[in-house]
């Protein structure tokens, strides 16, 4: 069951060396984000990990938190640090059913 997740209650998901200690990992298996919505604090990062069998291209164009991860192959992970408070819509440019929201608090 996908659900609203607050970073403050999330225990670390271990990834390879280099992942920030407190990052929440968003996975993408089956062309679905592992959560529909997440709350983090400004300056905190999320890890987008492609545990799916196909490439994804995760992006946001929400003002102040724009990013484009490019083509992310299966087995790849990338951290994204959100700088502006507000709400960022995250989508996969390739797979239009993949959508989630990041709420960034001050």
């Amino acid at each position: 069951m996908r659900k609203l997740t607050s970073l403050s209650f999330v225990v670390l998901v271990g990834l390879s060396a280099g992942a920030l200690a407190a990052n929440l990992t968003i996975t993408q298996k089956g062309r679905v984000f592992s959560v529909e919505s997440v709350i983090i604090k400004k300056g905190e990062a999320l890890t987008f990990a492609n545990d799916d069998s196909v490439p994804h291209n995760i992006i946001s164009t929400s003002k102040g938190n724009e990013f484009n991860l490019g083509s992310q192959p299966p087995g790849a992970a990338t951290d994204v640090t959100f700088k502006e408070a507000g709400e960022a819509q995250i989508v996969c440019a390739i797979h239009p059913r993949m959508r989630m929201t990041v709420k960034i608090t001050d």
């Binding site: 196909v54 938190n65 724009e66 087995g75 992970a77 700088k83 502006e84 390739i94 059913r97």
Partner: protein, 360 residues
């Protein structure tokens, strides 16, 4: 279906942004959030999947999904069918929805590219409307968010039916027998652009591929398709990787991919110019009734299923935007033949479609 007509449409402009989920999408650069370096995690090796384990993903759904904003009623579907087949919704009274999306051609038109206003050729192949009820996004380039928006798009597009929506409302209001049909289908509302779109899209959602030999095989009848086709199903899901995009019972995840066709059309890239993988990317079509739907691809540039398989085996134009999933496959002649045999099992015995008597 040239997109220019839609861009000019005030009605559809916001819809483009809606399909992207964001406003002003195409004009933003990607710089504000901090992106770390991509790294490898632990890609667990994929275990070989047995053929019977693949089958459940392909079971037909039990019912047609209708949106809560536009639920099914028989009155709406009946009215929508009349509108779908009525040539008077085009400015010339010469084209209906069925002109390009005809039941006689698997709900397409059998042409390489569509023919629009003034018999001018359009830029893209007319897609089928079969199983549109399950669509996540519409048009080859995904510029429309739902079937209701899609229903109004070609009507107003100058290159297609070229009918201003206000003029269409006036014309339909002069056809006396339409009025009670709208009143019955939409009590308290009657004729409006919104109800017109709701009626047509409700009818379109009822156009569903019937049970094909493939479905009977999925349900357990081993005799109904050939061993060659069964082997093709396995190749489809493994070596050829077709199911990475053509997935599920309708054989599409509605994703956007550049499959390496030598076409100048940038497709989805028009709306996402900063995303390299969207250049020349088009929506993945479903494969139901595919043997009836040639010629193939967004530009109708490939005549036969055999040639389609050859294209994927070759991998097409190798360029930065090409999907990472599209690359030379090394299929044998037998494997190619098996793939085509499998694709032909997706053809159902569609019931003949009766053309409705139209209001006067």
């Amino acid at each position: 279906m040239p997109p220019s007509g839609f861009i000019r449409s005030a009605l559809l402009g916001p819809a483009v942004a809606a399909t992207l989920g964001l406003i002003g999408f195409a004009n933003l650069s990607f710089a504000a959030a901090i992106v770390g370096e991509m790294r490898r995690t632990d890609p667990s090796p994929k275990a070989a999947v047995a053929i019977n384990a693949m089958k459940p993903e392909y079971r037909r759904p039990p019912s047609i999904p209708f949106p809560k904003e536009n639920p099914y009623t028989p009155e709406k579907a009946s009215l929508g069918k009349k509108l779908y087949f009525d040539t008077r919704i085009s400015v010339t009274s010469a084209q209906s929805c069925a002109s390009c999306h005809s039941p006689g051609f698997g709900w397409g038109d059998g042409l390489a590219v569509g023919v629009g206003h003034g018999m001018a050729k359009l830029g893209r192949h007319s897609p089928t409307i079969v199983n549109a009820a399950w669509g996540a996004i519409f048009m080859w380039d995904g510029r429309l968010a739902n079937l209701e928006e899609q229903a109004l798009g070609p009507i107003q597009s100058p290159g297609e039916m070229n009918m201003p929506i206000e003029k269409l409302m006036e014309r339909l209001a002069t056809i006396a027998e339409y009025k009670p049909l709208f009143v019955t289908a939409f009590p308290g509302t009657g004729l409006s652009p919104n109800t017109l779109a709701q009626a047509i899209s409700t009818y379109e959602r009822t156009v569903v591929s019937e049970q094909a030999p493939f479905d009977l095989w999925i349900e357990g009848n081993e005799q109904v398709i050939s061993d060659e086709a069964k082997r093709g199903f396995v190749i489809f899901n493994t070596k050829a990787q077709c199911s990475s995009c053509h997935e599920g019972w309708n054989f599409t995840n509605d994703g956007f991919q550049d499959i390496g066709l030598p076409s100048a059309d940038v497709g989805r890239g028009q709306f996402l110019p900063d995303i390299i993988k969207m250049k020349h990317a088009f929506k993945t079509p479903g494969l139901r009734e595919i043997a009836r739907r040639g010629p193939y691809m967004h530009d109708g540039s490939i005549a036969t299923l055999e040639q389609v398989v050859e294209h994927y085996d070759h991998g097409g134009v190798d360029r930065p935007s090409r999907s990472d999933l599209v690359k030379p496959l090394g299929l044998t002649a037998q494997e190619k033949s098996e793939l085509v045999a499998f694709l032909k099992t997706l053809t159902s015995n569609l019931d003949p479609t009766t053309v409705p008597v139209l209001p006067r």
